[in-house]
């Protein structure tokens, strides 16, 4: 089983969800109100919410390697254009 951690702006949540659903992920979890720093040193802070930018979300996804692979491929396109990062690791269900 694999673990996928996707972190990106909440503005792209619907797009990513559509991709994840399309790849047949068995489930996912979403944490909102994530702040952080990414490419070009760009900081996303809590006041991005007031400033209209919105904060980040952290999507956590456990699935079989094949699905992880296709999710990774789909979201990579989104992240390249809009920003966002994703990481994979091994895991096993309890």
């Amino acid at each position: 089983m694999e673990r996928l951690d996707l972190i990106f702006s909440e503005r792209e949540l619907d797009k990513v969800l559509a991709a994840v659903d399309a790849c047949g992920a068995p489930g996912y979890s979403v944490m909102r109100h994530i702040t952080g720093k990414g490419r070009n040193g760009l900081v996303v802070s809590e006041d991005s919410e007031i400033a209209g930018g919105g904060t980040n979300v952290h999507m956590l996804l456990f699935c079989e390697p094949a699905i992880a692979e296709s999710v990774a491929q789909e979201v990579r396109k989104i992240f390249e254009y809009y920003g966002g990062v994703g990481f994979r690791a091994k895991a096993s269900a309890i």
Partner: protein, 330 residues
């Protein structure tokens, strides 16, 4: 003369709380208004201002002055980005120049509200339809911003998604701020047309609390603006200059237009404030979606870190001074 107005504005509770927020950041206190509480205040302010605007619109009705003002507002929200863009291009790439241009074509509801409070403290009246003008200045600025990118931007054939007008118009007209403002305005209009009762029952919420919530929200805006100003310093003097001079220029044109239309002093001030303010709610959200290549810390920080404080501290009394000079009291 002017010093008096400046002082009266400086010593009003909302502006003082703004300073308190700035002071808290400067002396690195841990004071914060945790998310999503600021969102509560901003939703409330939009809802209340829209509702009150709708109620007043019912009483004032829609006449030539209203139509002219709205047309002038839309024209300004198109003209300001068009004028700003070539100037910004001197130093910035297309994406950032367009995003900042759109930001300055649009408006800041909180600056508008602060100006309304200032008018109230001066005993000068204004009309509800100005809220409609406010709401209608957002979409054109957003659209012009994107058109600038399309027309002047690099060739986009490298597999990137092309311009999709659907999402853009959607974002321009149906973003949460515009929708809540227009929706509340229409609700206010409908409720007022049914008689006094509904309006009376909403008053303790939409009117009495308003000033206090505005003060509370400006405390947060002070915290945010002060944090943003250090970002701006990185962006350099060019953008700092722009953040002050563009609003000044726009406001001069604004006063002139207001005089042309024949607005009263109250409406003229609000119109001028709209021209001179920069968006930090709807446009950044739209730019994030449609021009992700632009750096948000540039357009958000210039609007929020400099133009916003400038407008509520110096701008409002200054524009009032200009208005008093060029617009007859009645």
């Amino acid at each position: 003369m002017g010093a008096d107005l400046v002082l009266q504005n400086l010593l009003s509770p909302p502006v003082l709380f703004f300073f308190l927020g700035v002071a808290a950041v400067l002396c690195r206190s841990d004071l914060e208004i945790p998310s999503p509480l600021p969102k509560l205040f901003s939703l409330y302010l939009l809802l209340a201002i829209g509702f009150k605007g709708g109620v007043e619109l019912k009483y004032s009705g829609i006449n030539t002055e209203v139509m002219l003002t709205i047309a002038a507002a839309i024209a300004m929200s198109v003209a300001i980005p068009l004028v700003s863009f070539p100037f910004l291009r001197l130093r910035l790439d297309v994406f950032n120049a367009a995003a900042i241009a759109a930001t300055y074509g649009s408006i800041s509801p909180v600056t508008f509200i602060t100006a309304e409070s200032f008018l109230a403290s001066q005993g000068i009246s204004s009309d509800g339809y100005m809220v409609a003008a406010l709401a209608l200045m957002e979409p054109p600025a957003i659209i012009v911003g994107l058109l600038l990118v399309m027309l002047c931007g690099p060739n986009r054939s490298k597999g990137q998604p092309g311009v999709r007008w659907g999402p853009l118009l959607h974002e321009a007209f149906l973003n949460s701020s515009v929708l809540l403002l227009i929706g509340s305005l229409m609700i206010g209009l409908l409720v007022a047309s049914q008689g006094e009762l509904g309006v009376e029952k909403m008053k303790p919420f939409t009117d009495n609390l308003f000033y206090g919530v505005l003060s509370f929200f400006l405390l947060d805006m002070g915290l945010v603006a002060a944090k943003r100003i250090s970002d701006l310093r990185k962006a350099g003097t060019f953008l700092i200059g722009f953040s002050v001079l563009m609003p000044l220029l726009a406001s001069v044109v604004g006063v002139w237009l207001a005089g042309l239309i024949g607005l009263g002093q109250g409406n003229a001030l609000l119109f001028t404030v709209l021209c001179g303010s920069a968006s930090y709610i709807a446009v950044p959200a739209a730019m994030r979606m449609t021009v992700p290549q632009a750096n948000p810390s540039l357009y958000i920080s210039s609007a929020l870190g400099l133009t916003f404080p400038f407008s509520i501290i110096i701008g409002i009394p200054l524009y009032m001074q200009m208005v008093k000079r060029f617009i007859p009291a009645f």
